[in-house]
């Protein structure tokens, strides 16, 4: 775009007043701002000793976990919706016939490559049974690439580790009176829905 383009609206610069030309009010303003910030509360933390506070764990997207149901079994039904939704193709599921009567399939292996993951939360959105969730664990480190591929056991152990601090999101939301899509009451489903 050229400076002569008629689409440009040129604004007059506001002329400086006497106070601005004397520098003094701006001098005091600048110095008081920096002085105030110098003694104000700091926004960073001394990391390994004190940890940053996650504002809302419900919407935070940290390390994944695989939830367990009340019987302690993996909740996942190996429907592949998360793997399909994943834009980074980091979820790898091997499904096999379920030994339990309440579902047809379950994951024989379930692994997430945390190095490929972009932590977008699409898998959590896609999951129909609230099996995969993103926790508020924010410091994910490892010493090798292999170590960063989380298998089913590791993902379940993340659940065991975090379930007390962060209950399953569906339960938290249900307790707050908000229905999630996966747990929507049957009569609330739209008429003529999916066939």
């Amino acid at each position: 775009m050229k400076p002569t383009d008629p689409a440009i609206t040129w604004l007059e610069e506001k002329p400086l007043g006497l106070a601005e030309r004397l520098y003094l009010p701006l001098f005091i303003q600048g110095l008081s701002t920096t002085s105030r910030h110098m003694v104000s509360r700091k926004v960073t933390v001394n990391y390994p000793e004190s940890r940053p506070v996650v504002g809302n764990p419900l919407i935070y997207r940290g390390v994944h976990r695989l939830n367990r149901d009340d019987a302690g079994r993996v909740k996942c039904v190996a429907c592949f919706l998360c793997a399909t939704a994943c834009p980074a193709h980091c979820i790898d599921i091997v499904a096999t016939e379920s030994p339990w009567p309440d579902r047809e399939k379950y994951p024989e292996s379930f692994s997430i490559d945390e190095l490929r993951c972009i932590f977008c939360g699409m898998c959590e959105e896609a999951c129909p049974v609230d099996a995969i969730e993103l926790t508020s664990l924010l410091d994910l480190t490892g010493k090798s690439r292999e170590e960063m591929i989380f298998d089913k056991e590791k993902l379940l152990s993340v659940y065991d580790m975090t379930k007390d601090a962060e209950p399953m999101k569906s339960k938290t939301l249900a307790a707050a009176g908000m229905a999630t899509f996966g747990h929507a009451p049957a009569d609330a489903a739209p008429a003529g829905g999916h066939h």
Binding site: M1, D5, P6, L16, R21, S35, S40, R41, T44
Partner: protein
């Protein structure tokens, strides 16, 4: 055998040089840490607080950081690019550091020691490497001008565009601001009647009136000019990172870069010393230190502590200012130097000269008390008038706005407010052709 031993005078000077150089280098290293802390605190961060005593878990608020920084930069590869002028490239850091250190020969870093009684060493021993140097202030200014050579040589010898522009900017800026610096200083020299910095402190200690109160305009001019001389924000154009990468030391690395950076901090320390000594009373503090030269150990150390505290305060102000205001544009920098600071410095000089000239008559006429009050009131009045006057005379618009034509181009006036012919020169195509060719 006795003749082979250096005289006590030389030994004392060597001891003072050792203490001063060691102290200054340590101070420069720790000022880097202080600068990083203040930068962090101003930005609501915590700053470096990890490095403590090596091989232990003791952290000491990060006080080991300068050691680690120094070690790192010394052990780094000292890379010399192939396209530089080797002789000048290697000379520049040495010139700038040597000049910055030599300045301190005539700067007092305390008052005097109590009588030591060493034969051959005249008592009292002053906190000054070159005592009795009658051209003290001139020495400071001469050597700070030589330090400019280091910057210029570094920029030139680097054979790099960023370095070259940094060096050019630096030369123009330092030449421009040495004049207001000198004018701010002349008022003090006039009032104190001496070019020796220790005498300037004594003059303030005797009257108890620091020159910041007696010459406010001189203080402002000197303060602004010394910010520019030390190339600190808002006048850090010679090494504006956002524009020039590193300015004149872009091509330097390793220990040569360290020499430049230390010299920069020494410039800031020098500026703080000069401001404190010439305007803020040096080691003098009302009710704590007298003006006597006959003092005990406690008083001597107290004066040293007061001077150091004042200098630290000024340096903290330097560092706070860095985060308070944006950098000046180069034309603004020049217009501030030549159109504002130079006239204000002259106003200050004339006022101080007039006050000093007529002070005896005033004292005869009004008595010493009222005469002192008048001698202080007149410079303040001059400061107020000078400042407001320069504010009124400043253009009310910053001069980077596009040139307005106000439609005086008739046939192609509707293409916006730019006077394209004026912007591009007389041989540029008319504005309507430019607009049509997009």
């Amino acid at each position: 055998m006795m003749n082979l031993l250096p005289s006590p005078l030389i030994l004392a000077a060597l001891v003072k040089i050792g203490l001063l150089v060691g102290g200054l280098m340590t101070a420069a290293a720790y000022l880097v840490l202080l600068e990083r802390w203040i930068a962090a605190w101003v930005q609501d961060r915590r700053g470096p607080n990890r490095v403590g005593i090596p091989l232990t878990k003791i952290r000491l608020f990060g006080l080991g950081q300068p050691l680690a920084d120094g070690l790192k930069i010394i052990l780094k590869e000292d890379f010399t690019p192939s396209h530089v002028d080797r002789v000048l490239y290697n000379t520049a850091p040495l010139v700038i550091l040597a000049a910055s250190l030599a300045i301190f020969a005539s700067i007092p870093f305390g008052s005097v020691l109590p009588p030591l009684g060493i034969p051959g060493l005249p008592d009292p021993v002053p906190f000054l490497v070159a005592p009795g140097l009658d051209v003290g202030v001139l020495w400071v200014f001469a050597l700070s001008s030589i330090a400019v050579y280091g910057v210029l040589l570094g920029g030139w010898a680097s054979n790099n565009k960023y370095g070259f522009i940094g060096g050019l900017r630096s030369s123009a800026q330092l030449v421009a601001y040495e004049i207001p610096l000198g004018l701010g200083l002349l008022g003090v020299v006039l009032a104190a009647g001496s070019l020796r910095l220790d005498m300037i402190i004594n003059a303030q200690a005797e009257t108890g009136i620091w020159y910041v109160f007696a010459q406010p305009l001189g203080f402002i001019v000197f303060m602004v000019a010394s910010f520019a001389e030390a190339a600190r924000l808002p006048f850090d154009l010679p090494e504006a990172e956002q524009e020039l990468v590193g300015g004149y030391h872009t091509e330097y690395s390793g220990i040569k870069l360290l020499l430049f950076l230390v010299a920069e901090f020494l410039h800031m320390i020098t500026a703080a010393f000069l401001i404190v000594i010439m305007f803020l009373g040096g080691w003098h503090l009302w009710g704590v230190t007298g003006s006597s030269q006959d003092i005990g150990w406690i008083q001597a150390l107290l004066r040293f502590a007061i001077l150091s505290a004042k200098i630290l305060g000024v340096i903290v102000f330097f560092m706070l200012v860095r985060w308070s205001w944006p950098r000046f544009r180069f034309d603004q920098l020049m217009s501030l130097a030549w159109k504002v600071m130079l006239p204000l410095g002259l106003v200050n000089l004339v006022t101080v000269a007039a006050v000093e000239e007529y002070r005896p008559q005033l004292e005869n006429l009004l008595g010493p008390g009222i005469a002192t009050a008048v001698a202080i009131a007149i410079p303040w009045l001059a400061c107020l008038v000078g400042w407001v006057g320069s504010g009124i005379l400043t253009p009310s618009e910053s001069d980077n706005s596009p040139v307005r034509t106000h439609g005086n181009h008739g046939n192609h006036g509707n293409h916006g407010p730019f006077d394209v012919e004026r912007e591009l020169g007389p041989h540029a195509p008319p504005a309507n052709e430019l607009a049509g060719s997009r």
